[in-house]
Subunit: 184 residues, 2 copies
């Protein structure tokens, strides 16, 4: 049984293959590829872009997240509280990769080599890669680039519908327009 | 890319292995092993036991469920509607295996050969198998057997907490007590 083993100890090629495809399955089910943006007065455009790959699990299955972290060799685990029933709080944990290097060197190549099978997740991943490529070219420091990134991510699955998201607010923000005039 | 292929066409051993472990991952994420019971006046104990294995997906990823059905060669796909956001209904679909043969010959052997990795799902599967073994021995036709089944499934993850479930109601039902007196 692989479950009790350390994923990173999967020297055996066969075992690594099994774990890899299991990871694709769990990410098809529980994973997210997100492009978040937040107001940040210090950022050139007044907003910062944060790409994030994450997988959530309940506290009982925290070991899965620890093993994912070891497998990918990047990212961190954060606690979060989620209201699943009216009066009951179930502790949830999230394995997150936010650092550019980890996303570029580990996460993206892994899912290019082991493609996701769910149409929605595969499409999110494709957009995620496109957005990261633009960020690498520093496009997020220009209004036109930010608009491109936001257009790409508009149809991605996020917690909030697009029109209520920070990405939509960015487009409407007077600050955006003011800074754009300054920088473009 | 395997995603566009028919899972059942996985003659190639390597490919079948990849698909198998991907299935374990998606079931660790989105699958359920349930033991439901419903009132049924015609049943000997006044209640019927329904074991069910299921995997849910949004409409967009219906193809995944179709492929699971082909892979296992049993079960059916049912539409269900789920309220995910206050005013928005997202169509969901469920691949369900309820028939005894499919569970016994396909689902159980598959997950015995390819063990689940999440602690909660693995524990649910173990209890699910135990309950089905009791049903096979017709234990569900006796009050003592039903009580055994209910005790096993008490800590399984179901939609409702145990004390609000039909399984808990069964234990308290005057009908149960009356029938038990008749049959035991």
């Amino acid at each position: 049984m692989i479950s009790s083993k350390n994923f990173s100890g999967a020297d055996n090629q066969q075992e690594r293959l099994e774990i890899s495809w299991w990871i694709v399955g769990i990410v098809d089910g529980e994973g997210s590829f997100l492009i978040n943006i937040f107001r940040s007065p210090k950022a050139k455009m007044g907003w910062q872009v944060f790409p994030e790959f994450n997988v959530s699990q309940s506290e009982k299955d925290l070991v899965i997240l620890k093993n994912l972290k070891k497998f990918f060799g990047c990212g961190n685990i954060y606690p979060q509280r989620s209201k699943t029933r009216k009066k009951k709080w179930t502790p949830l944990y999230k394995y997150c990769v936010r650092e550019r290097e980890g996303l570029k060197e580990k996460i993206i190549p892994f899912f290019q080599e082991h493609p996701l099978k769910s149409i929605t997740k595969k499409s999110d991943f494709r957009k995620f890669v496109k957005a990261i490529r633009l960020i690498e070219k520093n496009e997020h420091l220009k209004l036109s680039g930010m608009k491109k990134i936001i257009r790409i991510t508009e149809r991605m699955v996020h917690r909030k519908p697009f029109r209520k998201s920070a990405r939509a607010k960015f487009l409407k923000s007077s600050e955006t327009i003011r800074r754009a005039a300054m920088h473009n």
